[in-house]
Amino acid sequence: MAMLKVTDLKVNYGIIPALKGISFEVNEGEVIALIGANGAGKTTTLHTVTGLIPSAGGKIEFLGKDITLTPPHQIVKMGMAHVPEGRRVFPDMTVYQNLMLGAYTRKNAAEKEASLELVYSRFPRLKERTKQLAGTLSGGEQQMLAMGRALMSHPRIILMDEPSMGLSPIYVNEIFDIIEKVSSEGTTVLLVEQNARKALSIADRAYVLETGSITTIGQADALLHDDAIRKAYLGE
């Protein structure tokens, strides 16, 4: 059974359709890449899955439960974390406060402390800056904070929206290394990326989104060598 199953999902912005009935599945332990051009509907897809945007039709199931109408704060509790586009850290709060908000749904203090240690060991830079206001971090550090904050909820699946956007190549590599590590430790990953080459290189399977519809589904390796994909998304 798929961990996350989206069936015929439709979303409209006013009268303009943003998603025209897309279906996809994410199985436990997979890294799934959702690639496509600007405006194809990638961010809309993630926002609808976590309940930030209402759907106009279709069904979203997570761990066998229908979450189509569930508000975001309850979906988080079920084990889904979402690292939004543009990091969206809380700028006027410290790194530590941001991380603790990530663990908002958890009650056990010892478990929270363990997660905090894990996040600090994965992102040593955050540990150096625990008392610094998040708004004063660099873009790459903010991305690490957003990822660390999401991991603090100890999610079963993590949705990442453009984690490499606006980062220097060194940070991009570091971020993708961390995504691979998170995945290898058992967290399922749904990754939205414009950097298709990077995304496909770490993904198991991928879906290609074009103006609100899924046009291609395949194994990530195969797509990396597919002529049409190479032309359209890998700049060759």
């Binding site: 976590t50 939004p84 969206r88 700028p91 709060m93 908000l101 908002y104």
Partner: protein, 293 residues
Amino acid sequence: MVSFFTNLINGLSLGSIYAIIAIGYTMVYGIAKMLNFAHGDIIMVGAFIAYTVISTFKLPVWLGIVAAVIVCTCLGVAIEKIAYKPLRKASSPLAVLITAIGVSYFLQNSALLIFGSDPKMFSSVVPFGNLTIGPLQIPGTTIVSIVVSLVLVGALQLFINKTKPGQAMLACAQDRDAASLMGISVNGTITLTFAIGSAMAAIAGVLLCSAYPTLSPTTGAMPGIKAFVAAVFGGIGSIPGAMIGGLLLGIIEILSRSYISSQLSDAIVFSVLILVLLVRPTGIMGKVIQEKV
């Protein structure tokens, strides 16, 4: 010199009442992103409840204060649920602003219907009279107002910085969508904000009417507007800003009433606001919002 210090302390006292009201205004603005123009009338409701319990039913003072706080908290939450929440996703922010003005009139006219238009004499809830410190004679109410507001602000700061619901409030004020992705119920947090703001307004109402004992259905209107000015003055959305704005406003009002003209004191208060906003459009503690390119 003695009279100057007396005026200054009276100003601090009135200012600390404005500060309590302004903090409610500024919290609701910061988290629900709306101006709750009915906030001032909650003060009036609180004072009427305390008056009814203490003077009409002859029950103990503490019971009157507790009743005022409970009724105002419930009223604030109910207003938010019934009048504001359905409009939260409305396309124009004006819809909720106009509704707030409507709620303000609704509360005033309900009070008019229940309690009548003739002013009531509110007997002070402070059980002791003037305090003599050196050459200064300070009314008990003045000292209680200052102490209560300091305690409330301190408790609120602790609540916001040290508790989970407090952190949730800060998170919602900065980024609602991101807060909901942390598992925070944004609706629940907004309700909590209205509850805290209204409870503080009830206390402000009791303090205000202890210092200025005429109570009528429009009692909350002017202090409400002044507190709004104080919140803008200090930088709307900022709790320390509302505190400083409230204190400054009270001091300016009392000093101009004593040394310039009692008729012009309100005009002077609003002129100072205009001057401050000309120099610092975001208020004293307000953040300069940078335009994104």
